[in-house]
Amino acid sequence: MGRLAEERFASDCTILVDGHPIPARAGERVTSALLAAGQPLLSRSAKYHRPRGPFCLAGSCSSCLVRVDGVPNVRACQTPCREGLRVETQNAVGGAAHDLLGAIDWLAPHGIDHHKVATWNQLVNRVAVSASRKLAGLGLLPDEVPAPWPEASDERFEALVVGSGPAGLGAAEALARAGKKVFLAEREPALGGRLRCRLDLAEDPPLEWAGEVAEAVRRAGGEVARGAAVIGLWPGEGEATAAVVQAGEPPRMRRVRAARVVLASGSWIQRPVFERNDVPGIHAARSLAVMLAEDGVLPGERLAVLGRGPEAEAVAARFAAAGLAVERLDGEIATARGRNRLSGLDLADGRRVPCDALAVATARMPAAELARSVGAPLELDPETGAFRVRPGAGGAVAPGIHAAGEVTGPCSAAEAARAGREAGEAAARG
């Protein structure tokens, strides 16, 4: 727990979590500050009021929803720290650590069938419905009327690339080289996608490549937009329209239209399936690696790493080098221990692994939502249950729309970069 003792990782501001000061680095995510402070507990879950803490750390799951400066249900992992930022835990009576409603979990050991509960009598049902309403919901309505957003822009580019991981960088570079005016949309504040893990796997393009691509895009008249989340993509006559939420001061909506689109939206982590798999302290391995590289965050003292392959191996090596006791799990997990924080894992073979953090490097699911919304054909991998986009030549998935990288299934960063380049070239021709 804590941070690497390097000058560049020293904290320079304080955020307030339920009124308690937590040291942080300005600009880093709230979850980085919390994990560095040894606090993976953030709130309580919707139904059973179980302790919840950040899992994906990349804005895809809902395990880190908190109230930030009076706005409910904000992802802590997407919220930059600044002096005095007010973070409040949600859905807990008496604090996330000692939530009185946690009793619900203990009173219903076999679960609550919400379809059947209290249906035996009309009067009982009415009382139960009224009580359920009081218990439901996560955050509270905002305290105040937020400042209005500036009027949304309407912009045209020759090409839109969604995602700046290796596939998106490859596509943007190819399009820029072909002279196209590209809009490269990256939801995170930094470019690179999984290259930000700095795992330096064999043949991985270096992260510095992202800077070169950004320069090439700008030279061709395009724009590299960081903190730009594409929330929807609508195909139209000869061009597609993307709705983009652009972070900034103030944040704004951008309507971005382009005749060519490359979807390089990557993949989402899936929660591994074992008993008590929701205990705070279980995190996506890639995100932990990014937090280590960029914020020097050490998520615990004893880290277990779940998953096979070079990525899991490299994550384990990085944290071992950072001074953590690291154990790679080679068996199936039966159950997790710990209540407000992970304290160990019982494996299916009976072994017990003490740990206070678990890095999940198992199969990820293609982030195929945008591709699916434009009608991309899919293929199911029966082993992982993941649906991958099945593109045609040059990554084509719909008229004018291409897909590349992990959205089309598991691949190395080098393979993703290559596929991205091909998709970019095909898009530039089309």
Partner: protein, 491 residues
């Protein structure tokens, strides 16, 4: 407790999914709805693959393991952000998702019998409610055919409002009966519908609208409703967050209600089946056979079924279905879009509707804001895509009337189709053939009327004299010119 979670947004466990599967909710769309997986703030990003894998382990077929429909926004997005888009600059188009052709379909829920006394086409609340009510009256040789999964049509896509504030004694009577049934539905059917009488608050922003609600309030009083016309200040006592400068008066009935629509459908289906009816999902009607003035059989993609009576309860597909029998209905499907926000602690009691622009919204029992808004430019047609234009129009209208919602995020948008008739009234009774009964054309209020209407229809089919609605709202009224339009359609 030692739970194994599959969806941590909704606290749904692997065990919940297994139970749903064993109950017959086998395909991913149905499993999602029955267990809640994928319906929370992450919209399935953290559970879709593991859910698919669990279903495969349980023995689901490839046709059943197809991802649930993807809808915008990809990430929860503030109403305040979406309100900054100019809706007039955005097209009404087909919307998303565009669907690739299905390779395999889920298998039907059971084999098709060779014959049945009553064949009902359409597994929405109308058809299922009728099947249940027929069974209750001893007519149990009933087969219901549904082309997709239960809740796939408008019965699974509506906002769940049930109101008595209508403009004619007939509609008020039907709605009041539906509200009464709503009170006891959970206990009678053994499934929670989260029925809550939070009232309906109609806002009148113009003098003309004020006149309209004042006139309606008189009709309501004559028909035993507690409707009151409120000043903006009084309306603010009902909804403290409302901007009371945006309207002149409001029509308030505290007895109107909001429900969660899906369990009504499941409840009717499972009770009807328990009483002897056969509900066959993923079974598509392809044609009819007839002799003289009677239909004799229904052909489907799963085979032929001989029928003594055929009921068309196909909602937005009613016109298409009737055409297969050579019967021309004046109904037209019309897309209506709707959305849901992230879940909040309870703050909004009633369903609020703005008569000035067609906005309506309520807070579901899960805490989400659920609402829609009709678009006067919407063309007729069977589309269910989601548009950016709707997100923008709705967000502007909502944040105008409740400014604090600008800091609340949209979680998902979707769409369904109204089954629209020329006079906004339903099509009931026989049409084209003596034994081809219509139960359609409900123009967006079928869900709330179904509990009452299907009781009356079952009474009639069981031999009672018909309620006046079955002689008044026939197809032939259009030829006779006996139409009186209903003007209180919202959403």
């Amino acid at each position: 407790m030692a739970r194994t979670f599959l969806c941590t947004c909704e606290d749904a466990t692997v065990e919940d999914v297994r139970r749903a599967f064993e109950k017959g909710y086998r395909d991913l769309e149905s499993v999602k709805r029955y267990t809640g997986i994928g319906t929370g703030p992450c919209q399935g990003k953290t559970c879709l693959a593991i859910a698919a894998r669990e279903l495969l382990k349980l023995g689901a077929t490839p046709g059943e393991v197809v991802p649930f429909t993807v809808r915008p926004p990809l990430h929860p997005t503030l109403f305040g952000a979406l309100a900054s888009l100019d809706p007039e600059a955005l097209p009404i188009d087909e919307g998303v998702p565009r669907r690739p052709p299905a390779v395999e379909r889920p298998r039907p829920s059971g084999p098709l019998p060779a014959k049945a006394q009553v064949v009902i086409v359409g597994g929405g609340i109308m058809g299922l409610g009728l099947a249940y009510n027929l069974c209750k009256r001893g007519i149990t040789d009933v087969v219901l055919l549904e082309r997709g999964f239960l809740t796939g049509g408008a019965s699974g896509r509506n906002g769940g409002g049930v109101r008595a504030q209508w403009t004619t004694p007939t509609m008020i009577r039907l709605a009041q009966r539906s509200l009464d049934i709503g009170d006891s539905f959970a206990a009678e059917m053994g499934i929670n519908t989260w029925f809550r009488r939070g009232g309906y608050l109609f806002l009148a922003p113009t003098p003309k609208q004020v006149e309209r609600i004042e006139k309606n309030a008189v009709i309501h009083a004559e028909n035993g409703l507690r409707t009151r016309v409120l000043t903006p200040g009084e309306a603010r006592q009902v909804v403290p967050e409302i901007d009371d400068t945006r309207f002149l008066a409001a029509s308030w009935n505290p007895d109107d209600a909001v429900v969660f629509p899906w369990p009504y459908v499941w409840g009717y289906a499972s009770r009807a089946e328990a009483l002897g009816a056969k509900v066959r999902t993923f079974t598509r009607v392809t044609g009819f056979e007839s002799e003289g003035k009677r239909l004799t059989a229904v052909n489907t993609d799963q085979g032929r079924i001989a029928a003594e009576v055929v009921v068309n309860a196909a909602g937005a597909w009613s016109k298409e279905l009737a055409a297969l029998a050579g019967v021309k209905l004046p109904n037209e499907p019309e897309r209506h879009e709707i959305l849901v926000s992230e879940p909040l602690k309870p703050w909004l009691g009633p369903l609020v509707s703005n008569l000035g622009n067609g906005l309506y919204f309520s807070q579901s029992l899960r805490g989400e804001i659920v609402g829609g808004m009709a678009d006067p430019k919407e063309p007729k047609g069977l589309h269910m895509g989601s548009t950016l234009r709707f997100l923008s129009r709705f967000s502007r209208a909502l944040t105008e009337i409740i400014p604090r919602t600008a800091g609340v995020k949209v979680m998902r948008q979707w769409a369904g189709c109204y089954d629209v008739t020329p006079d906004n009234n339903p099509i009931l009774g026989a049409a084209g053939y003596d034994n081809f009964l219509q139960l359609n054309g409900w123009v967006g209020h079928g869900f709330m009327m179904a509990p009452a209407v299907t009781e009356l229809m079952a009474d009639w089919m069981a031999g009672d004299p018909p309620d006046e609605i079955f002689t008044r709202f026939t197809l032939s009224r259009f030829e006779r010119g006996e139409t009186a339009g209903e003007d209180f359609i919202i959403g």
